[in-house]
Symmetry: C2
Subunit: 199 residues, 2 copies
Protein backbone atom coordinates (compact mmCIF):
# COMPACT_ATOMS: atom_id res chain seq x y z
CA UNK A 1 0.00 0.00 0.00
CA UNK A 2 2.94 2.33 -0.58
CA UNK A 3 1.68 2.88 -4.08
CA UNK A 4 1.35 6.46 -5.33
CA UNK A 5 -2.27 5.87 -6.29
CA UNK A 6 -3.25 5.16 -2.70
CA UNK A 7 -1.10 7.75 -0.95
CA UNK A 8 -4.07 9.81 0.25
CA UNK A 9 -5.71 6.67 1.65
CA UNK A 10 -2.44 5.72 3.37
CA UNK A 11 -2.04 9.25 4.75
CA UNK A 12 -5.63 9.20 6.02
CA UNK A 13 -5.03 5.86 7.77
CA UNK A 14 -1.78 7.14 9.33
CA UNK A 15 -3.50 10.27 10.63
CA UNK A 16 -6.58 8.43 11.93
CA UNK A 17 -4.19 6.09 13.79
CA UNK A 18 -2.96 9.10 15.82
CA UNK A 19 -6.39 9.69 17.34
CA UNK A 20 -6.75 8.50 20.95
CA UNK A 21 -8.36 5.07 21.10
CA UNK A 22 -7.37 4.13 17.55
CA UNK A 23 -4.29 2.21 16.41
CA UNK A 24 -3.08 1.30 12.92
CA UNK A 25 -5.39 -1.70 12.68
CA UNK A 26 -8.59 0.04 13.78
CA UNK A 27 -7.66 3.06 11.65
CA UNK A 28 -7.51 0.80 8.57
CA UNK A 29 -10.89 -0.72 9.44
CA UNK A 30 -12.39 2.73 10.02
CA UNK A 31 -11.05 4.09 6.72
CA UNK A 32 -12.36 1.08 4.75
CA UNK A 33 -15.75 1.52 6.40
CA UNK A 34 -15.73 5.22 5.53
CA UNK A 35 -14.83 4.54 1.89
CA UNK A 36 -17.60 1.93 1.65
CA UNK A 37 -20.15 4.32 3.13
CA UNK A 38 -18.87 7.36 1.34
CA UNK A 39 -22.12 9.33 1.07
CA UNK A 40 -23.24 8.43 4.59
CA UNK A 41 -19.94 8.67 6.44
CA UNK A 42 -16.87 9.98 4.61
CA UNK A 43 -18.29 13.08 2.95
CA UNK A 44 -20.39 14.22 5.96
CA UNK A 45 -17.41 13.64 8.28
CA UNK A 46 -15.14 15.71 6.04
CA UNK A 47 -17.74 18.51 5.91
CA UNK A 48 -18.30 18.46 9.68
CA UNK A 49 -14.55 18.55 10.32
CA UNK A 50 -14.14 21.52 7.98
CA UNK A 51 -16.97 23.30 9.78
CA UNK A 52 -15.67 22.50 13.27
CA UNK A 53 -12.12 23.50 12.27
CA UNK A 54 -13.49 26.83 11.10
CA UNK A 55 -15.83 27.59 14.00
CA UNK A 56 -14.72 25.80 17.20
CA UNK A 57 -12.96 28.00 19.72
CA UNK A 58 -12.19 28.09 23.42
CA UNK A 59 -14.42 30.25 25.57
CA UNK A 60 -12.28 33.21 26.71
CA UNK A 61 -14.00 33.10 30.09
CA UNK A 62 -14.13 29.45 31.15
CA UNK A 63 -12.14 27.46 28.55
CA UNK A 64 -15.12 25.39 27.34
CA UNK A 65 -15.24 24.66 23.61
CA UNK A 66 -18.00 26.31 21.61
CA UNK A 67 -18.42 28.42 18.53
CA UNK A 68 -18.22 31.91 20.02
CA UNK A 69 -15.70 33.82 22.14
CA UNK A 70 -17.97 33.40 25.16
CA UNK A 71 -19.57 29.94 25.35
CA UNK A 72 -23.29 29.21 25.66
CA UNK A 73 -22.99 28.31 29.36
CA UNK A 74 -21.11 31.49 30.30
CA UNK A 75 -23.52 33.69 28.32
CA UNK A 76 -26.76 31.97 29.43
CA UNK A 77 -28.76 33.95 32.00
CA UNK A 78 -30.26 30.69 33.26
CA UNK A 79 -26.87 29.56 34.55
CA UNK A 80 -24.71 30.92 37.31
CA UNK A 81 -26.20 30.91 40.80
CA UNK A 82 -22.87 32.02 42.22
CA UNK A 83 -21.43 28.49 42.08
CA UNK A 84 -18.38 27.78 39.95
CA UNK A 85 -17.37 24.19 39.14
CA UNK A 86 -13.65 23.78 38.44
CA UNK A 87 -12.75 20.85 36.13
CA UNK A 88 -9.51 19.66 34.56
CA UNK A 89 -10.69 19.22 31.02
CA UNK A 90 -13.52 20.02 28.59
CA UNK A 91 -14.37 16.29 28.60
CA UNK A 92 -15.07 16.57 32.36
CA UNK A 93 -17.31 19.59 31.75
CA UNK A 94 -19.24 17.58 29.13
CA UNK A 95 -19.56 14.67 31.59
CA UNK A 96 -20.99 17.04 34.23
CA UNK A 97 -23.41 18.47 31.67
CA UNK A 98 -24.57 15.00 30.63
CA UNK A 99 -25.32 14.26 34.29
CA UNK A 100 -27.41 17.41 34.12
CA UNK A 101 -27.60 18.20 37.83
CA UNK A 102 -25.43 21.32 37.90
CA UNK A 103 -26.92 24.72 37.11
CA UNK A 104 -23.92 26.96 37.82
CA UNK A 105 -21.01 27.84 35.56
CA UNK A 106 -17.68 26.12 34.91
CA UNK A 107 -13.98 26.84 34.82
CA UNK A 108 -11.80 24.49 32.77
CA UNK A 109 -8.17 24.39 33.98
CA UNK A 110 -6.82 22.67 30.88
CA UNK A 111 -4.84 20.06 32.84
CA UNK A 112 -3.30 19.56 36.25
CA UNK A 113 -0.19 20.88 37.95
CA UNK A 114 2.69 18.51 37.27
CA UNK A 115 6.30 19.03 38.37
CA UNK A 116 7.34 16.17 36.09
CA UNK A 117 5.94 17.83 32.95
CA UNK A 118 6.84 21.33 34.28
CA UNK A 119 3.21 22.46 34.26
CA UNK A 120 2.79 25.27 36.77
CA UNK A 121 -0.20 27.49 37.57
CA UNK A 122 0.67 29.83 34.66
CA UNK A 123 0.36 26.97 32.15
CA UNK A 124 -3.16 26.26 33.42
CA UNK A 125 -6.14 28.61 33.61
CA UNK A 126 -5.53 29.22 37.35
CA UNK A 127 -4.74 32.99 37.20
CA UNK A 128 -7.94 33.44 35.17
CA UNK A 129 -9.84 31.47 37.85
CA UNK A 130 -8.61 33.88 40.54
CA UNK A 131 -9.55 36.85 38.33
CA UNK A 132 -13.05 35.45 37.90
CA UNK A 133 -13.52 34.94 41.63
CA UNK A 134 -12.51 38.55 42.22
CA UNK A 135 -14.68 39.88 39.40
CA UNK A 136 -17.81 37.69 39.42
CA UNK A 137 -20.28 37.25 42.26
CA UNK A 138 -19.14 33.76 43.30
CA UNK A 139 -19.95 32.27 46.67
CA UNK A 140 -18.92 28.65 46.20
CA UNK A 141 -16.21 26.88 44.19
CA UNK A 142 -16.65 23.13 43.59
CA UNK A 143 -13.29 21.52 42.89
CA UNK A 144 -14.40 18.64 40.63
CA UNK A 145 -10.89 17.44 39.83
CA UNK A 146 -10.02 13.82 39.15
CA UNK A 147 -9.14 11.65 42.15
CA UNK A 148 -5.57 11.20 40.90
CA UNK A 149 -2.38 12.39 42.60
CA UNK A 150 -1.97 15.30 40.15
CA UNK A 151 -5.67 16.16 40.37
CA UNK A 152 -5.59 16.28 44.15
CA UNK A 153 -2.31 18.28 44.21
CA UNK A 154 -3.96 20.82 41.94
CA UNK A 155 -7.06 20.92 44.14
CA UNK A 156 -4.89 21.61 47.23
CA UNK A 157 -3.00 24.37 45.42
CA UNK A 158 -6.24 26.06 44.33
CA UNK A 159 -7.71 25.66 47.80
CA UNK A 160 -4.62 27.43 49.24
CA UNK A 161 -5.00 30.31 46.79
CA UNK A 162 -8.72 30.80 47.38
CA UNK A 163 -8.92 30.11 51.09
CA UNK A 164 -11.36 32.30 53.02
CA UNK A 165 -12.48 34.12 49.88
CA UNK A 166 -15.21 31.62 48.92
CA UNK A 167 -16.79 28.41 50.18
CA UNK A 168 -14.74 25.50 48.79
CA UNK A 169 -16.28 22.08 48.20
CA UNK A 170 -15.35 18.87 46.42
CA UNK A 171 -17.42 16.05 44.92
CA UNK A 172 -18.44 13.35 47.40
CA UNK A 173 -16.49 10.13 47.28
CA UNK A 174 -18.17 6.76 47.75
CA UNK A 175 -19.76 3.76 46.12
CA UNK A 176 -20.81 4.46 42.47
CA UNK A 177 -24.54 4.03 41.70
CA UNK A 178 -24.97 0.42 40.62
CA UNK A 179 -21.52 -0.40 41.94
CA UNK A 180 -20.76 -3.75 43.58
CA UNK A 181 -18.58 -3.72 46.69
CA UNK A 182 -16.68 -6.77 45.52
CA UNK A 183 -15.40 -4.88 42.47
CA UNK A 184 -14.43 -1.66 44.28
CA UNK A 185 -10.89 -0.77 45.33
CA UNK A 186 -10.02 -0.53 49.03
CA UNK A 187 -9.62 3.28 48.91
CA UNK A 188 -13.16 3.81 47.64
CA UNK A 189 -14.64 1.44 50.22
CA UNK A 190 -12.74 3.18 53.04
CA UNK A 191 -13.86 6.61 51.79
CA UNK A 192 -17.48 5.43 51.56
CA UNK A 193 -17.27 3.96 55.08
CA UNK A 194 -15.79 7.12 56.56
CA UNK A 195 -18.47 9.26 54.91
CA UNK A 196 -21.33 6.93 55.92
CA UNK A 197 -24.77 8.49 56.33
CA UNK A 198 -27.64 7.78 58.72
CA UNK A 199 -30.56 6.13 56.90
CA UNK B 1 -24.20 19.68 24.88
CA UNK B 2 -27.50 19.89 23.02
CA UNK B 3 -26.84 23.58 22.56
CA UNK B 4 -27.23 25.05 19.09
CA UNK B 5 -23.76 26.56 19.23
CA UNK B 6 -22.14 23.16 19.52
CA UNK B 7 -24.36 21.21 17.13
CA UNK B 8 -21.58 20.64 14.59
CA UNK B 9 -19.29 19.35 17.34
CA UNK B 10 -22.08 17.09 18.62
CA UNK B 11 -22.81 15.86 15.09
CA UNK B 12 -19.10 15.17 14.53
CA UNK B 13 -18.93 13.16 17.78
CA UNK B 14 -22.07 11.19 16.86
CA UNK B 15 -20.68 10.37 13.42
CA UNK B 16 -17.20 9.47 14.70
CA UNK B 17 -18.89 7.12 17.20
CA UNK B 18 -20.27 5.11 14.26
CA UNK B 19 -16.78 4.16 13.07
CA UNK B 20 -15.71 0.60 13.91
CA UNK B 21 -13.57 0.52 17.05
CA UNK B 22 -14.94 3.81 18.40
CA UNK B 23 -17.81 4.33 20.82
CA UNK B 24 -19.38 7.53 22.16
CA UNK B 25 -16.68 7.98 24.80
CA UNK B 26 -13.66 7.48 22.54
CA UNK B 27 -15.34 9.60 19.85
CA UNK B 28 -15.60 12.48 22.36
CA UNK B 29 -11.93 12.09 23.30
CA UNK B 30 -10.92 11.94 19.63
CA UNK B 31 -12.93 15.06 18.74
CA UNK B 32 -11.49 17.03 21.69
CA UNK B 33 -7.99 15.98 20.64
CA UNK B 34 -8.71 17.04 17.06
CA UNK B 35 -10.01 20.44 18.15
CA UNK B 36 -6.94 20.97 20.34
CA UNK B 37 -4.60 20.03 17.51
CA UNK B 38 -6.58 21.78 14.82
CA UNK B 39 -3.73 22.62 12.43
CA UNK B 40 -1.98 19.29 12.88
CA UNK B 41 -4.98 16.96 12.96
CA UNK B 42 -8.46 18.36 12.26
CA UNK B 43 -7.77 20.40 9.12
CA UNK B 44 -5.46 17.82 7.46
CA UNK B 45 -7.95 15.03 8.29
CA UNK B 46 -10.81 17.00 6.73
CA UNK B 47 -8.72 17.68 3.62
CA UNK B 48 -7.62 14.05 3.29
CA UNK B 49 -11.21 12.84 3.71
CA UNK B 50 -12.41 15.25 1.01
CA UNK B 51 -9.68 14.01 -1.30
CA UNK B 52 -10.32 10.33 -0.58
CA UNK B 53 -14.08 10.82 -0.98
CA UNK B 54 -13.44 12.37 -4.39
CA UNK B 55 -10.86 9.89 -5.69
CA UNK B 56 -11.22 6.47 -4.01
CA UNK B 57 -12.96 3.83 -6.09
CA UNK B 58 -13.23 0.07 -6.34
CA UNK B 59 -11.12 -1.62 -9.00
CA UNK B 60 -13.54 -2.90 -11.66
CA UNK B 61 -11.41 -5.99 -12.09
CA UNK B 62 -10.52 -7.21 -8.58
CA UNK B 63 -12.50 -5.04 -6.12
CA UNK B 64 -9.40 -3.51 -4.45
CA UNK B 65 -9.66 0.15 -3.45
CA UNK B 66 -7.52 2.62 -5.36
CA UNK B 67 -7.86 5.85 -7.28
CA UNK B 68 -8.43 4.53 -10.80
CA UNK B 69 -10.91 2.15 -12.45
CA UNK B 70 -8.21 -0.54 -12.62
CA UNK B 71 -6.07 -0.68 -9.47
CA UNK B 72 -2.27 -0.48 -9.34
CA UNK B 73 -1.91 -4.21 -8.68
CA UNK B 74 -4.16 -5.26 -11.61
CA UNK B 75 -2.43 -2.83 -14.00
CA UNK B 76 1.16 -3.55 -12.88
CA UNK B 77 3.15 -5.68 -15.35
CA UNK B 78 5.31 -6.91 -12.46
CA UNK B 79 2.35 -8.74 -10.93
CA UNK B 80 0.39 -11.70 -12.15
CA UNK B 81 2.33 -14.90 -12.62
CA UNK B 82 -0.90 -16.76 -13.30
CA UNK B 83 -1.75 -17.01 -9.59
CA UNK B 84 -4.91 -15.38 -8.25
CA UNK B 85 -5.42 -14.92 -4.50
CA UNK B 86 -9.09 -14.78 -3.47
CA UNK B 87 -9.78 -12.79 -0.26
CA UNK B 88 -12.96 -11.78 1.54
CA UNK B 89 -12.21 -8.13 2.04
CA UNK B 90 -9.92 -5.28 1.00
CA UNK B 91 -8.47 -5.36 4.53
CA UNK B 92 -7.33 -8.95 3.88
CA UNK B 93 -5.72 -7.87 0.59
CA UNK B 94 -3.86 -5.11 2.47
CA UNK B 95 -2.72 -7.64 5.11
CA UNK B 96 -1.36 -9.93 2.36
CA UNK B 97 0.43 -6.96 0.76
CA UNK B 98 2.00 -5.94 4.09
CA UNK B 99 3.35 -9.49 4.42
CA UNK B 100 4.84 -8.85 0.99
CA UNK B 101 5.39 -12.46 -0.10
CA UNK B 102 2.77 -12.67 -2.83
CA UNK B 103 3.55 -11.49 -6.36
CA UNK B 104 0.36 -12.52 -8.14
CA UNK B 105 -2.95 -10.67 -8.40
CA UNK B 106 -6.00 -10.60 -6.13
CA UNK B 107 -9.73 -11.01 -6.26
CA UNK B 108 -11.77 -9.42 -3.45
CA UNK B 109 -15.13 -11.15 -2.89
CA UNK B 110 -16.60 -8.38 -0.74
CA UNK B 111 -17.84 -10.74 1.97
CA UNK B 112 -18.81 -14.37 2.44
CA UNK B 113 -21.83 -16.43 1.52
CA UNK B 114 -24.34 -16.32 4.33
CA UNK B 115 -27.78 -17.88 4.29
CA UNK B 116 -28.66 -15.94 7.46
CA UNK B 117 -27.99 -12.56 5.83
CA UNK B 118 -29.27 -13.80 2.42
CA UNK B 119 -25.91 -13.19 0.77
CA UNK B 120 -25.62 -15.47 -2.25
CA UNK B 121 -22.94 -15.70 -4.96
CA UNK B 122 -24.57 -12.83 -6.90
CA UNK B 123 -24.13 -10.45 -3.96
CA UNK B 124 -20.41 -11.24 -3.90
CA UNK B 125 -17.87 -10.87 -6.70
CA UNK B 126 -18.07 -14.63 -7.48
CA UNK B 127 -19.47 -14.39 -11.06
CA UNK B 128 -16.68 -11.89 -11.84
CA UNK B 129 -14.15 -14.38 -10.42
CA UNK B 130 -15.38 -17.08 -12.80
CA UNK B 131 -15.25 -14.60 -15.71
CA UNK B 132 -11.65 -13.73 -14.83
CA UNK B 133 -10.61 -17.38 -14.68
CA UNK B 134 -12.13 -17.91 -18.13
CA UNK B 135 -10.59 -14.74 -19.57
CA UNK B 136 -7.18 -14.42 -17.88
CA UNK B 137 -4.32 -16.87 -18.06
CA UNK B 138 -4.71 -18.24 -14.52
CA UNK B 139 -3.21 -21.55 -13.44
CA UNK B 140 -3.69 -21.43 -9.66
CA UNK B 141 -6.30 -19.93 -7.35
CA UNK B 142 -5.34 -19.47 -3.68
CA UNK B 143 -8.46 -19.36 -1.52
CA UNK B 144 -7.21 -17.12 1.32
CA UNK B 145 -10.54 -16.90 3.12
CA UNK B 146 -10.90 -16.56 6.86
CA UNK B 147 -10.98 -19.77 8.91
CA UNK B 148 -14.58 -19.07 10.00
CA UNK B 149 -17.67 -21.14 9.20
CA UNK B 150 -18.87 -18.63 6.57
CA UNK B 151 -15.37 -18.26 5.15
CA UNK B 152 -14.96 -22.00 4.75
CA UNK B 153 -18.47 -22.43 3.29
CA UNK B 154 -17.59 -19.81 0.70
CA UNK B 155 -14.27 -21.54 -0.04
CA UNK B 156 -16.09 -24.85 -0.60
CA UNK B 157 -18.63 -23.20 -2.90
CA UNK B 158 -15.91 -21.56 -4.99
CA UNK B 159 -13.93 -24.81 -5.07
CA UNK B 160 -17.04 -26.59 -6.45
CA UNK B 161 -17.46 -23.96 -9.16
CA UNK B 162 -13.83 -23.97 -10.26
CA UNK B 163 -13.04 -27.65 -9.89
CA UNK B 164 -10.73 -29.07 -12.58
CA UNK B 165 -10.38 -25.71 -14.32
CA UNK B 166 -7.42 -24.49 -12.21
CA UNK B 167 -5.18 -25.67 -9.38
CA UNK B 168 -6.90 -24.75 -6.11
CA UNK B 169 -4.90 -24.12 -2.92
CA UNK B 170 -5.53 -22.68 0.51
CA UNK B 171 -3.26 -21.04 3.09
CA UNK B 172 -1.47 -23.48 5.41
CA UNK B 173 -2.88 -23.82 8.91
CA UNK B 174 -0.64 -24.21 11.92
CA UNK B 175 1.15 -22.50 14.77
CA UNK B 176 1.58 -18.71 14.19
CA UNK B 177 5.18 -17.44 14.09
CA UNK B 178 6.05 -16.50 17.68
CA UNK B 179 2.97 -18.35 18.91
CA UNK B 180 2.99 -20.24 22.20
CA UNK B 181 1.28 -23.63 22.27
CA UNK B 182 -0.23 -22.92 25.67
CA UNK B 183 -2.23 -20.01 24.22
CA UNK B 184 -3.44 -21.77 21.07
CA UNK B 185 -6.88 -23.31 20.67
CA UNK B 186 -7.25 -27.07 20.26
CA UNK B 187 -8.29 -26.81 16.60
CA UNK B 188 -5.09 -25.01 15.62
CA UNK B 189 -2.91 -27.46 17.54
CA UNK B 190 -4.65 -30.43 15.92
CA UNK B 191 -4.28 -28.84 12.45
CA UNK B 192 -0.59 -28.15 13.08
CA UNK B 193 -0.07 -31.71 14.29
CA UNK B 194 -1.83 -33.24 11.29
CA UNK B 195 0.22 -31.09 8.89
CA UNK B 196 3.52 -31.77 10.68
CA UNK B 197 6.68 -31.57 8.58
CA UNK B 198 9.92 -33.53 8.66
CA UNK B 199 12.80 -31.38 9.94
Amino acid sequence: MTDKSTQDIDALIAMMAKLPGLGPRSARRAVLQMIRKRALLLTPLADLMQSVAATARECLNCGNIGTSDICAICSSDKRGNGILCVVEDVADLWAMERAGGFKGRYHVLGGTLSALDSIGPEQLRIPKLIDRINAEDITEVILALNATVDGQTTAHYIADQLESRVRLTSLAQGVPIGGELDYLDEGTITAALNARKQI
